[in-house]
Symmetry: C2
Subunit: 168 residues, 2 copies
DNA sequence: CCATATAGGATGTTATTGCAACTATTATTT
DNA sequence: AAATAATAGTTGCAATAACATCCTATATGG
């Protein structure tokens, strides 16, 4: 896939704006974050899939692997809430990670509804490699952005997410 | 789907940070935009799907409808490049819009490989409604963000997208 | 104690998306 | 002019993700 032009259908013939080509009037009021969020999401999926292919981990599974490694054991329900992902999506991602041998399920003996999730040995071993791969993608995509700007962007993204998920 | 907790697996037990709960040291270095981009993307898809359901337009089609309305006629190839979307995805989205009666295909007589895309009458009529629906989602999600901050966020998102798509 | 409600997961289906491979048309090369 | 390249689009397949629904286990109300 050749990526040539802009992401905004509001900009007509314009090219993807880089920092230095932003005009002085700022971003047009008609522009929306949605288009950029969407394009960034899709292309990050592509980049991460390529990075993690050697470990047979897809772009739909790595977040769960990382979350489990952060605080195991954890239940699927807790994962879903933490990552704001539907519980059925979580169930299927965990199944794949289990099939690949990275995650182990164990029924909580105090409440048989719960399945506690642990990393296997293979899981423990692969986590650092996944972290490195994710860091590579992150560093590539934030080139030319200062720490302060990056922090600001994250703060704003958090507000957007909050507005999307916490309202009425 | 109940959305309760945080989006970051780096934050442990923390809750989704709102502007006012950001600590003074700023965002931890380990946090990444990826998780927020992903969550925002998925929840925007949900919100937009709900808004556009009455018109039988899915979250995968509205961008194409808007882009066609912006500058018709246009080819699928041009749409794909403009929106940074794979051409096969474009083909399928256009098929749906055609089935719903919003878009019309016409072979370019000067080069039979091209199919020029136009809005139908129904398409012309639905576009303003789609714009309103998108504006509702946009306005909801940018509550509490000033114009200047929003502009800054878009500028930074553009850099991220540029880094993802224009590098080697 | 039993009926109902609630909670955690699993399964089936559908929509979005990208890749590989293909067809058809135009452009280029020899 | 014939063979080969390149271009626009389509089709088949697989992965991600959500919704509806169901199952099982625990909690709660009568």
């Amino acid at each position: 896939m050749k990526l040539v032009a802009i992401a905004s259908y509001f900009e007509g013939e314009g090219k993807l704006s880089h920092r230095w080509s932003n005009n002085d009037e700022g971003v047009p009021a008609s522009e929306s974050h949605g288009q950029y969020i969407s394009a960034i999401y899709r292309h990050m999926q592509i980049a991460i899939s390529a990075e993690l292919a050697p470990y047979r981990i897809g772009s739909g599974q790595y977040i769960f692997l990382m979350a489990i490694s952060f605080g195991q054991p954890i239940t699927q329900k807790a994962l879903s809430e933490k990552l704001l992902i539907d519980k059925t999506t979580t169930a299927k991602a965990i199944s794949k990670l289990e099939t690949e041998g990275y995650v182990r399920r164990e029924v909580d003996s105090s409440d048989n509804r719960y399945q506690l999730l642990f990393l296997t040995e293979a899981g423990q071993e692969v986590v650092p490699k996944v972290q490195e791969a994710l860091a590579r993608v992150k560093n590539k995509t934030r080139r030319g952005i200062t720490d302060a700007e990056y922090d600001q962007m994250l703060s704003l993204l958090k507000i957007v997410l909050y507005n999307l998920t916490e309202q009425e």
